[in-house]
């Protein structure tokens, strides 16, 4: 089966019903996508399939044959971070980090689809993702900043906007 993963053509040998998550993690050794619940409930396994966020734990390999897959490793490197990665770093939007790659990919898709600095729209776009460290305010801050096209100074972290994510006060 053939895939393009992070811009590189890959031929994989996993069975056709193998969840994409384990093709990535176990065969291709790309461990950025996480097995959080393996039930489609938490969003930690989210990757982009032809630019759309998808739960890789529920996506059989055969359903994505020929597709272009993007994982956290494909967004940017430590030396050349993508804006969304810079935004998450500068805004301290990762605590334990386990949900981070899924959230960043959902955020990347939101921005690629023309999403703007609108907290409610961002919340809607990220609503399928659980962060149990409850860092939602800073996550929304980061996505809003990336959507605005902010420049990020990675030698410091930003303060929190102090805003709630809406409806929780």
């Amino acid at each position: 089966m053939n895939l393009t993963v992070n811009g590189v053509a890959r031929e994989v040998e996993s069975g056709p019903l193998t969840p994409l998550l384990f093709v990535l993690r176990d065969e291709l050794e790309l461990t950025g996508a996480k097995a959080g619940c393996q039930q489609g409930g938490c969003g930690a396994c989210t990757v982009l399939v032809d630019g759309e966020p998808r739960r890789s734990c529920l996506t059989p390999l055969i359903a994505v044959e020929g597709a272009a897959i993007t994982t956290a490793e494909g967004l940017g490197t430590p030396e050349d971070l993508a804006p969304i990665q810079q935004a998450f770093t500068h805004h301290y939007a990762a605590q334990c980090g386990f949900c981070t790659s899924g959230l960043m990919l959902a955020a990347q898709a939101y921005i690629d689809h023309g999403g703007i600095d609108d907290r409610h729209a961002i919340q809607e776009a990220l609503s399928g993702h659980v962060c149990r460290c409850t860092g939602y305010v800073k996550i929304v801050d980061a996505v809003a900043a990336a959507a605005r096209g902010d420049e990020f100074d990675l030698t410091v972290t930003a303060g929190s906007s102090g805003m709630t994510t809406g409806g929780v006060r």
Partner: protein, 456 residues
Amino acid sequence: MKAVGARLPRYDGIAHVTGRSTYVDDVRIPGTLWVKALRSPHHNAAITKLDTSPAEAMKGVHAVVTAADVPLLVYGHLSALGIPGDEPLLASGEVRYEGQPIAVVAAESEELAMAAVEAIRIEYEERPALFDIRKAFDPGAPVVHEWGNWYPHFEGEMDRRQIRKGDIEWAFDKADTIVQGVYRPAAIEHVPLETQVCQVVPEADGRLTIYSCTQALYFSLGVVCAHLQLPLNRVKVVGGTVGGGFGGKVDTATETMCALLAQKSGRPVKWRWTREEEFLCSSTRAPWHMEIADAVTKDGWILGRKMLTLHDSGAYARFSPYGLTKHSFHHAGAYTIPNIHFDGYVVFTNRVPTTAMRGFGVTSVSFAVETHLSRIAVELGIDPFELRLKNANRIGDTTPNGVVLTDPSTVPTIQAIADAIGHELTAEYRTTTGDTRSGAFLPEHLVAQLGNPEDH
């Protein structure tokens, strides 16, 4: 002090956003076997038959471990502090909570490990279960623990954490009114995004390397070595990157069983709990039952507090005696109460054992105390901020367990909260400070409890 107040970048921030942080599940070890557990479907039952031979006979199953394989079966999470153990690593002869592990298997694949668990033959004789800590003391209640229904090993072999201070009879005689309340926060599952996971590698020199998501690496090292009866230098625990813990990864949940399987099979093993296991079988924050009766004056002084706490430990003690001890030290909250009568019990039930979670033992009592303070304010018809500021800890005040406070921040904290939400305080309460009590804030009944911080 350059770091104080600075907004420093986090040292693992770039690793997190590039998907390169190595969590336990991300460690790649060739030839790893999968681990699955046979778990109790019952809350309380005798095991009348256990036969693992069908699982052992399956091709691709490399090891099955039961209670019979554990060098030291019963050990406690607080045993290193001299507290006797009560929990078998794997159930032996009986199960006391749904989800309790009875046998673990290591097999070539996750599916095969699940099939091997299914193949184990087991029979149970169900027994009455106990879930409500309030019923644990009833004469007819089922006895669910070999020590009885509550923990009997506090200092001096006391069966409760007891605090007595001042003259509680005097306080209740002198009070204008008694304000009572009962507070019952429920169990909470931590739900870390990363479920319990570990990998154990039997090294060529006979040592074991354990990759663990533990929050308490040295506890895990001690617990593993105790059960396996190994010196500490035979085990290396690699931790550090935890995908959320919140207290739920303080208990040694997986490492010991995996270490035994690695020893027995001679192969690396990995156990990653499913989300269902995490919800059903991992320890939770405890449910609590707290009863408070405060002797108060009509102008808002708390003369005395009687409190009863029941702490649901689940089926075994684990860290609960420690959690209740912290709870007891904080049961007056951030307030000075000179006369105290506190009894707290660690109660056993047929629930999953409970553990730390964000403010172990203290979150529950803070919820109860603050709700109770508000209740007093309503019953007396006085301002809840002024009630709190009046009784708030100041320098020289003593806590229920006799600690003289040197620098309590209660008064400025409450004033800052009032300020933040626009709550008007009268001049007397706006200007009072956390300094040693004097004037209107040193009534007769608090004179005797003033201590000298210099002595501490």
